[in-house]
C-alpha cells in the first residue's frame, strides 16, 4: 500500500492504495465519484474513460501509481456543475441515453474528439467513437449529438 495525491476535477485527494490499483476503482470507491464506470477491465469498452491533462484515458487499466499529483484528472462529474457543457447539452437535446451506463465514457470521449477536431465528419466520429461500446444501441444519436455540438459551436450559439 502507498499514499497518492490525485487532482480530480480541481480538488486534491489523498488516497491509500496498492500501486497497481486501477485509477477507476480509486475514483469510484475511495474518492466516491461513481459516474465513471467499470465495463470490461481491459480497456476495450470505454465506459471508464476519464481525462488526464485533457487526454482521454481508460481508467480501468491505468494503475494509480502512474498518475502524478500534478496531472489534472477530469471525470464526468467535472465537466460542468450544471449540465451546461456543450456536449452534455447536445446529449440531452438529442435524447441519447437509454440505460445510461456507458454514457459517461461516451461523453468523455466525445469531449476529447471535439477538443481536437471541432467539426468532425461522420468518418472522424466513426473512427474516434468506435472505441466506446453501447449495448442499448444509442449510436445513431451519439453521432447526431456530436454533429450538433459542432454546429452549435460554429453558429456561436454555444455559451
Amino acid at each position: 500500500m502507498a499514499k497518492y495525491t490525485l487532482t480530480v476535477n480541481g480538488s486534491q485527494h489523498e488516497v491509500v492504495a496498492d500501486p497497481d490499483t486501477p485509477l477507476l476503482w480509486v475514483i469510484r470507491d475511495q474518492i466516491g465519484l461513481t459516474g465513471t464506470k467499470y465495463g470490461c477491465g481491459i480497456a476495450i469498452c470505454g465506459a471508464c474513460t476519464v481525462h488526464i491533462n485533457d487526454q482521454p484515458v481508460r481508467s480501468c487499466t491505468t494503475p494509480v501509481s502512474t498518475v502524478k499529483s500534478s496531472q489534472k484528472i477530469t471525470t464526468i462529474e467535472g465537466l460542468s456543475p450544471d449540465l451546461s457543457h456543450p456536449v452534455q447539452k447536445a446529449w440531452i437535446e438529442e435524447r441519447v441515453p437509454q440505460c445510461g451506463y456507458c454514457q459517461s465514457g461516451q461523453i468523455m470521449s466525445a469531449v476529447a474528439l471535439l477538443r481536437n477536431n471541432p467539426n468532425p465528419t461522420d468518418a472522424d466520429i466513426d473512427d474516434f467513437m468506435s472505441a466506446n461500446l453501447c449495448r442499448c444501441g444509442t449510436y445513431p444519436r451519439i453521432r447526431k449529438a456530436i454533429h450538433r455540438v459542432a454546429v452549435l459551436a460554429q453558429e456561436g450559439i454555444d455559451d
Partner: protein, 741 residues
Amino acid sequence: MLKPAFAHQPPFLMSSKHSTSRRRFLKVTAAAGAYLAIGISPAGRLVAATPGKQPGRLPGAEGETELNSYILITPDNKITLFNPRPEMGQGTWQSMPALIAEELEVRLRDVDIRMTAGAKRHGRQSVGGSGSVRQSWIPLRQVGAAAREMLIQTAAKRWNVPASECSAAYGKVLHPATGKSLPYGALVAEAAQLPVPENPRLKDPKDFKILGKPIARPDVPSKVNGSAIFGIDVQVPGILYASVQHCPVIHGKIVRFNAEAVSAMPGVKHVFKTERKMPHKTVDAVAVVATSYWAAHKGRLALDIEWDNGGFDAIATATYFETARKKAADEPGNAYPDEVGKVRTAFASAAKVVEAVYETPFASHAAMEPVTATAWVQGDQVEIWAPVQSSTGVIEEVAQYLGIPQENVKINVLFMGGSFGRKGYYDFVLEAVHISKQIQAPVKLIWTREDDFNNGPYRPGMINALRGALDARGNLIAWEHKVAGEAIGAQVFGQDISAQADRGSGEAIGQQTSPYAIPNRRQAHVHVPTDIPIVWWRSVYSSTNAFGQECFIDEMAHAAGKDPLDFRLELLQAEPRWTALLNRLAEKSGYRAIRAAGHAIGIAIAHSFGSTAAYAITVSPKGNGVAIDRVICVIDCGMTVNPDTVRAQTEGNAIMALSAAAFPAMTFAGGEAQESNYSQYRLPALRDIPPIEVYIMENGEDPGGVGEPGLPPFTPALFNAVFLATGKRIRRLPVDLENLD
C-alpha cells in the same frame, strides 16, 4: 429492519398508526405532510389505500385488502409519483409516472419520481415481456383520474360551486367562471377524507398533454453528469467487496482451494466456499471478500482451486446443435394447439415442396453494467440493493432461499445499466445473499466482465426446421415449422414439457402471431435439453423464430416466382393492420422502385409482445458479401406514451439484432465458454451502424409492447436482402456480412 444508509432513493414514507375504513382516503400527518393514497386492488378496482405499518415501506393497506399507492401530495404542493417498474433503459422512469400525471393534470417536470420497493400492496413490480405500458395503460391512468376527481370535488365544496364547473390543470383546481384556483396541496388533506370514485372518467386521448408526446425523459440529465445511481454504484457504510470464482467448466465442483494463503493477502478479510443457485442447478464457487474491490479481485486471481469437472467438460455447443438438428429431422415434436387443416395430406398433394433448416446461436446479454448486487444479511433480516427487473421477484426468491418471511426482505431497486433479460434472473442476488450471510456484513458482489460471459445465462441456441408446399399455381398450401432447442419453460421454470409443446418456444410463429392464410399448418416444439444456463434475452424466442419464419416465407415466395412483398400481402388479406403496415413500409422504403431497379431490398414482418414491426433493409455487394445501406422500420404499437422512446427502443433493437446476426456468438467447448470479454464477443460499434429510420403507425389502438418487438424482423429482412444481392441463402448465424462463405 436494517437501517438503510443509502440515500439515492429518497426515504420512503414513514409509517402511521392510522387504521380506517379501506373505503376512505387517508391523511397521514407526518413530516412528509398529507398523503393522498389511491390504489388498485388485485382485481383491478380502484380502492383507497391506508398507511402501512412497516418502517421504511410505502404506506398501504391494512387488513384484508392489498392496495397500491402511487401519489403523494404535500401541503406545500410537492407532488411525488411512485414508479413500480424498474428502469433499464426502456423508459419506465417516465412512462409509468406519465400515465398518472396525464390524468392528475400535473406536468412531469413538476413531480418527483420514486421507485417502489416491492411491497405487496403495489402488486407485481416487474419489467419484462415489453409489458409495462400495456399493463398499466388503464390502471395507472385511473389512479391519476381518481385523485383529480377527489381534488376537484374538494375545491368545489369549498367554493360552494358545482364540481362540474371546475377543472384541473398544472397541479391546481380551477373555477373558470370566478377565476378562483387552489393548488392541490391546499386541498389534499380534505380530499383524503373522501370516498374513492370507483370509475373515474378517463381523458379522451385527443386531450392528452403528455401521452403520445415526445417529452424529454426525466432520467436523462442524471445520465449525462454521472449522478444516476446504478446497482454497481451503491454505497453502504462498512461495505465489503466480493469477487467470486466459479468453475471454468460450467457446473464443476470444488475439491479444495488455498483459503489460507489468499486470506493473508492485503485487504482480504474472508475466503470461503459459496454457491450460485440457478433454477436448474446450484453450483460451487469461492468468494473472496475484501475491504476494496481491487483487493478482492487480486485475492480471487491468487486462488488456486482444484475442481471436479463432474463430466460437464463434455458440454459443447457444436454437439448441442448437432443433436438439435437430428432431433428436428427425426422427431415430430409436440404440436402447438393452433394446427389447421390436413398438413400431411396437403404435403402429399403438393406440386412443390421446399425444406430448410435455420440455426441461431447462443447469445449473451452483455449489458454494459456487469452483474452486481449488494446484500446485508443480519440474522433473519436481509436488505438488498440491486439492479433487478423485479423487486417482488427478488423478495420472493430471497425469502424462499433463506427460509424467512417475505416481510424480512427489504429491497432497493437501482437503475439497471442495461439488462435485456439478464437482471431478471436472480442467481447473482442469491450469491450476494449467500456471501453476506456467512459474514453478516454488507457485501457488494461484482462479477467481472469475464464472469458474465463465462457463466451466462444465455439466449438458447435454436434450430428452426421448416417445410412448405406450393400448389401448381404457386399458392402456399401447407406449412410446417418445428422449433428445436432448450426451453425456458423446462430449464428455468421446471415444467414438464415431455407431452406438450413449450409455450414460450412458440413465440412469433403460428396462426395467432403470424397470421398468414395458409390452409394447412402445423407448428411443433422439439425439446433439446442442455445444462448450459439459458434465459430470456431481448425478444426471447421471437428473436430466433422470426428468422426462420420470415426467411422461409421469402424462400416460398421465390419458389413460387412471386415478389416477396406481394406474396405476403396476398396471404395477409384478412389482416388490415398487417397490410397497412407493409404498405407503409413499401412507401417509406421506396420498395417498388428499388426492386424495379434491380437493387437488393429485403423485408420481413413479425408480431411479438403485442406489437407488429416490419423492416426493409437495402444492401450492396461488398467484399465477399454485403454492406448494409439503409434500415427502415415501421412499427405498429398502438397508442404510445412517448414516440421518441419508441424510436430509441427500435433503433436499439435493430442494433442488438445486428449483433446477434453478424457478430460473434457464445460458444462452448470442453464445458467452457469460449468467449470471455468484448475482445472476443465483439459488439457492433458506431462504425458498424447503418442509417436507421423508424416510423410509427398512428392509430388509436391499445398500446402494444415497445422494448422488444422491433428486434425479431430485423434479421430475416437483412438476410432476405442478402439473398437478393448475392444469391446466397444464409441459414446459420452468425455470419461475417462482408465474408459470406
